[in-house]
Amino acid sequence: MKTGRLFATIFFLALLAAPIVYKRVLVHRQTPKPGADQDTTALSSYGFRLHEAAKVSGINFRHKSPKLDPKLDHIMEQIASMGAAVSVVDFDRDGWDDIYVTNSGEGTHNALYRNMHDGTFRDVAPEVGLADVNSRETGVSMGAVWGDYDNDGYEDVFLYKWGRPELYHNDGGRHFTRVSNQTGLPPWANANTAIWFDYDRDGKLDLFFGGYYPEDVNLWNLKNTRMMPESFEYAQNGGRKYLLHNLGNGKFEEVSAKLGIQSRRWALASVAADLRHTGYPDLFIANDYGVSELYLNQKGVRFHEAGKETGVGYAPKSGMTASVGDILNQGRYGIFVTNISEEGVLVQGNNLWMPHPGSTGDALKFENVANAMGVELGGWSFGGQFGDLNNDGFLDLYQVNGNISLDPDHSYWYDYSKVAGGNRAIISDAANWPPIKGRSLSGYQQKRVWINDGSGQFKEVSQLVGVTDRFDGRSVALADFGNTGELNAVVANQKGPVLLYKNHVDPQNKWIEFSLTGLSSNRSAIGAEVEVFWNGQQQIQEVSGGSGFCSQNQRRLHFGLGKVTAVDRVTIHWPSGREQELKSPELNKIYKIEEPV
């Protein structure tokens, strides 16, 4: 008996000590060795090094939040906590990617940074007509996505707002004309996500955008304060969804209900990709205050919501980004969704949905492997994007975070959790929410740069490769601004500066890029897939009309290849159904390819 109790006591003490030992080991492993040169270490250990260079590159932009209805004054920082967005586009077709960033303060200007080909940028938004777009009367910007909806060769822009959504036609890369009234857009939508995609493959880009707050809510003039989510996990009182079918004459037809998209969940992110290799893009929506939704495309005539069938529609969380990537070089897409993780309060964990081995077509099943792959804990996570940051042949993951950074010594979490757990009669009324009073809510967080080792494990290296900012990151986009085969990161921060992390990659790692132009397919080639085969590996990427949180990566597809001497072949699957193959393309080269007619 005594021996047994002694053993039980030792076992008990060991159980209590285990977490302490585990954490000490973890901290020791993650602490960089003192004295080591960080540039050299990052390059030799991880194959790349990032340097923040926004100001020296001519980007001097600071986001401002709107001032909404005074009835929300007590929680204004919480409500007005989105709107910093970034999208990458080559708006003037000079072969160099440009940057569009949004602002959200009434009277503030958005900026369009033209790439000056020498590592610097210049804001040309005022002269092209894309700056002065934020006002109390018409609403303020939440994000922008670019797509050539009229196939004239120039990328047009859809600007979604808490307010009047706007479509601007690109007039030859010199000016933008507002065409919203002619195209059939709704008069008001509190939208936080939008993407271009050609869901019916008719060669004309269609537009999806999703509401966050209901469309009958004017946040500057509230009828009442019962405009909050009715639940922290099961809310279905958010904004409606819009699917605008491109009729081809500059007009769109709203077809969301007709095609089966009728959700009123609180959408924050969406992405389209051909997840089942049917040739038609499926639509994934990450929702705040609830489960994600996956709309399977039924040959362009209907969407079938299959969240539960595919496994992504369980375990409601706070979805804030949606990005796809062939993470394991298997020719299949995984889907990354960010959520909230706050120590001891709410550990939702991010989701990394990987297709279950062997499941295909309509029997497609996903499994959340974020924990197993090491990308689950990202703080109060917002935007995340896949891209091969070190050109080693595997997609890495850049994720920003941080919700509200105010007083660093006082947290709003207690009051937030108090009401968030309450019945819907309590949570849905903003008047019941305790005042934030200058406190932080998951602020000053360390960003995440996860590098993919190719065997199913990601390693977090942000501090080691130079990503050290603590701003409230919202939106991140990856692009090769210098046409050097190096993916840079541009980050939009809420009430903070736009950051440009320029990348220096180990030159021993090779790369190849593809800039596609559709002819039978939509001109932007959105939905086109490129498969690269090299050294016994393969990787597939799809041209995207928007991904992440309120963001859009470069249109061009970038593949890292590692230390190889040749690429075997490249296959291009155009949205029209055509296939094209390149044999033994050169390394370290940007291929500009037109769809064969």
Partner: protein, 294 residues
């Protein structure tokens, strides 16, 4: 002595005095009542609203609790234990712990069961096992562990069902006065907190409308193994837990109910043990020891 090996049934055994089957089912002597009802709530909640982090994590917590209980009972008492108590400990860990990883469920369950065998005084363990383990996890591993803090669904019906079922259970096992005292105190103290903080009364009372509190007030604070025996003292302790929780809440402690119970509960039990020596507990109370979250 194991946590369940000392359960003594005081129910009459003669056929003439045997209660009706339904009445017997809903009685303090039915040590399977609470496990069964909690399981039903759990399954219904998960099928309707995805209440659980995952079935597999809850199953892991239950399996760990049972295995550790068996191992320690054989090691310490040389006999096979009754597993209803370990089952409820596991299921409570499965419901209340929130973590994307699997290992916290194993660790928390193991700590809970082991605490019963180690932290004892004069033959009684002081802490409610799951309360102790969850508090320890929140203190030691806040990066990986949180607790259930949200609703089950939008509808008021699931909440009403849990309240009704929970009330029936605690009433049948003669513990309703503890729950009623705590709820009354919580609501009254919410009003006082509202006056102090300036926040709306609804904001202060909101937490008790969530599922975590429903489990807490019905199945955790009523644990006879770790509560005092006198009825008036039980009410006093429930009130003191509510007061301690208010103090912690005013200090903006998110896990106030867990910490309040883990502070007040063992002190009250220790005082009782000290005052009463080794007096045996009423059998009816002991029989309920499997019918609570442990």
């Amino acid at each position: 002595m194991s946590a369940r090996a000392d359960v003594i049934s005081s129910a009459p055994t003669g056929p003439e005095s045997r209660p009706h089957a339904i009445s017997r089912f809903f009685s303090a002597q039915n040590q399977y009542l609470a496990p069964l009802l909690i399981t039903l709530i759990l399954v219904a909640g998960n099928l309707s609203f995805g209440l659980l982090e995952s079935f597999s994590k809850t199953a892991l917590a239950i399996a760990t609790s049972m295995l550790v209980e068996i191992a320690l009972s054989l090691l310490v008492h040389r006999k096979f234990p009754h597993l209803a108590s370990a089952y409820i400990t596991g299921i409570s860990v499965g419901i209340l712990v929130r973590s994307p990883a699997f290992w916290p469920y194993v660790l928390c369950s193991a700590i809970a069961i082991t605490s019963k065998y180690v932290i004892r005084w004069r033959g009684r363990h002081l802490w409610n096992p799951s309360n102790f383990a969850i508090s320890a996890m929140l203190l030691l591993l806040p990066e990986y562990v949180a607790t259930l803090s949200i609703q089950w669904g939008n509808s008021v019906w699931p909440m009403l069902i849990v309240w009704v079922l929970g009330a029936i259970i605690v009433y049948r096992v003669k513990r309703f006065h503890i729950t009623a005292t705590y709820v009354t105190c919580f609501i009254a103290l919410s009003f006082i907190r509202s006056l102090i903080t300036g926040h709306s009364f609804l904001a202060e009372v909101a937490p008790i409308t969530g599922p975590m509190y429903q489990l807490f007030i019905f199945f955790m604070i009523t644990d006879p193994k770790t509560t005092v025996k006198q009825r008036w003292a039980q009410c006093l302790v429930a009130a003191l837990v509510a007061v301690a929780e208010m103090i912690l809440r005013l200090a903006e402690n998110i896990h106030a109910p867990y910490y309040a119970l883990s502070i007040v509960g063992p002190i009250a039990v220790a005082i009782e043990i000290y005052l009463n020596g080794k007096r045996r507990r009423p059998a009816a109370s002991a029989a309920f020891s499997s019918a609570v979250i442990r």
